[in-house]
């Protein structure tokens, strides 16, 4: 593992001027997509990797941004890291509907010159992939050497291999699934209800921060494992004695409140609603009567699937289902289940097995 940093990175913007039709049938009159790039594109233009972000991620994958904040995958993307910027030209973008610069609920709707807010049209993973392909063309890339992502990001990598088989050589799908389970949709629904029930939702001058914070608190629990929480907090208390009240007493309460509050200050509730729906709707096999192997029939990319043993939000079993569909479809697939105590969040953290699996998989050319 390397501690080298990319240092200051710059955010760039891609403007698509033509109408962009979404799967829902609605369309955007063009869009803006912000992105960052790391490393250099080689002469053959065959070393570009797209890193897709998950629910609360964005285009700032690695390095330090204008506010000196590290990217969400800085531990794994950089010189000599798992995704080695000495070798690859790496692109991270903020997906449509996001709240970090790309066209989303905070953008102005050209039809009425008001912010979209809750009227921002619903997008899908397929829509994202289509918009990312426009970014690919804008960057002058003949294809992606690899498309990579964890969780919702992994779903985009999978969708890439299905929708654009000729434009992606390898995919790395980490801690993801071919579709959400009922339990997973249920968690998302509670998160949405927390936001929708906030009296400030859709208010003109206030933000539904309480609801968004609650949604995040719930989400956060599902990203950690039982063991990881026990290890981190146990039943530790802020004070030595209980005071028989509803104040913050346990460390875990304090931690969750902090997480909820800080998240609600940096994220947009409409984007959160939208992202959870994107997750729920994701089901590429739907167009093939639920037959996932058939869905993968045209895939040509070599695939690496990685799951983490203690991840219960996107359990290893869901990854195995996907791996099995690749096997049934007679595709080139490798699958690795890594032992980790960190739950779903393990996909964000480097480890020796994780890093070297990714590195070796990317290095080998046919």
């Amino acid at each position: 593992m390397s501690n080298d940093s990319l240092g200051r990175v710059e955010t760039k913007s891609f403007i698509h001027k033509d109408a962009f039709t979404l799967k829902s049938g609605k369309s955007l009159q063009g869009f803006e997509m912000v992105y960052q790039t790391y490393g250099d594109l080689n002469e053959a233009r065959d070393n570009a990797i797209l890193i897709c972000h998950a629910l609360s991620g964005n285009h700032h994958v690695a390095g330090l941004n204008e506010e000196d904040k590290k990217g969400w995958w800085d531990d794994m993307v950089g010189p000599n890291k798992a995704f080695d910027t000495n070798k690859y030209f790496i692109v991270g973008c903020n997906n449509l509907g996001g709240c970090h610069g790309s066209t989303g609920p905070n953008s102005i709707n050209p039809e009425n010159n008001l912010a979209y807010g809750s009227s921002f049209p619903m997008v899908t993973v397929g829509d994202w992939v289509k918009s990312q392909d426009l970014l690919r063309i804008h960057l002058g890339l003949p294809f992606w050497f690899a498309v990579v992502g964890g969780s919702l990001g992994g779903m985009q990598a999978l969708q890439w291999s299905i929708d654009y088989p000729d434009l992606v050589k390898k995919i790395v799908v980490i801690a993801a699934a071919a579709k959400l389970s009922a339990q997973n949709i249920a968690f998302n629904e509670i998160a949405r209800q927390a936001i929708l029930a906030d009296p400030n939702y859709n208010s003109e001058d206030k933000l539904p921060k309480t609801g968004l914070g609650l949604a995040r608190m719930l989400g956060h629990i599902t990203y950690l494992s039982d063991d990881a929480m026990r290890e981190k907090f146990g039943r530790d208390m802020k004070k030595d004695e209980v005071n028989f009240s509803y104040d913050v007493e346990f460390e875990v309460e304090s931690y969750l409140r902090y997480q909820g509050e800080s998240f609600s200050n940096r994220f947009d509730a409409h984007t959160y609603l939208l992202m959870t729906k994107v997750l729920d709707y994701f089901d590429p096999a739907e167009a093939y009567e639920g037959d996932l192997a058939k869905t993968l029939k045209t895939v040509t990319a070599k695939a690496l699937l990685i799951a983490f043993s203690s991840d219960w939000r996107f359990s290893p079993e869901r990854s195995r289902e996907l791996a099995n569909a690749f096997i049934e479809a007679k595709k080139d697939i490798s699958f690795l289940e890594i032992d980790s105590p960190h739950g779903h969040d393990a996909f964000l953290m480097p480890s020796e097995t994780y890093d070297s699996a990714v590195q070796t998989f990317l290095e080998k050319n046919e």
Binding site: K302, I327, I333, S334, F335, L336, I338, K364
Partner: protein, 195 residues
């Protein structure tokens, strides 16, 4: 041994190697027989070695079942000297012949004369080049002889198409034909489902 197995495998076919180790065999077959290979392995270091060799590999324990593989979905299924380490070799055999149009299975022969001698005269569990572990730490929990394996095949619907008699380093030795069950160190079988 790789070469011998390679002789049994048609070019441009699909091969599943159960317990593929570091992927050497699949890498060999990919290069020489242009096969599309897939390995199963649970040791993460070995999985890493497979990826290094550009061999596709699934992190899966054979003992927890192979039901995720479709009937007759591979041209050849290989199980090289690992059936004796499985919890249920008979189930594995049935699964192997279900998944593969053909299977190549090799076994270390526990009835080899050296093993017999060690047990009879030494009074200890045999340790040899083909079976290098002490009794307490051996992964080989279901050791068998050629006779035993062949009876297993009969009892579990596998037809033996061919048998090769080898030394522990994979060399074919014709003298072993004189008394296969006594002289063979490793036996290599080509089998398929009975019907």
């Amino acid at each position: 041994m790789n070469k011998l197995i390679g002789n049994f495998i048609q070019t441009n076919t699909r091969v599943l190697d159960l317990g593929c180790g570091d992927g050497s065999l699949l890498a060999f077959l990919k290069k020489n027989n242009q096969v599309k290979g897939l390995g199963l392995e649970i040791d993460h270091q070995k999985i890493q070695n497979c990826l290094q060799k550009d061999v596709s590999v699934i992190d899966q324990d054979i003992d927890s079942g192979l039901s995720n593989f479709q009937d007759q979905s591979f041209d050849t299924v290989i199980m090289s000297q690992s059936i004796q380490a499985l919890r249920k070799p008979e189930v594995a055999l049935e699964e192997i012949t279900r998944i593969g149009k053909e299977a190549i299975i090799s076994i270390p022969n526990f009835a080899n004369w050296r093993c017999r001698m060690q047990l009879i005269f030494g009074g200890t569990m045999p340790v040899s080049s083909a079976l290098p572990h002490d009794w307490y730490s051996t992964p080989n929990i279901h050791l068998c002889s050629l006779k035993d394996f062949e009876r297993l095949c009969v009892d579990h619907g596998a037809k033996i198409l061919e048998r090769r008699l080898l030394s522990f380093d994979g060399q074919e030795k014709s003298f072993m034909k004189a008394a296969p069950n006594l002289l063979t160190e490793i036996a290599l079988y080509r089998v398929k489902a009975m019907n």
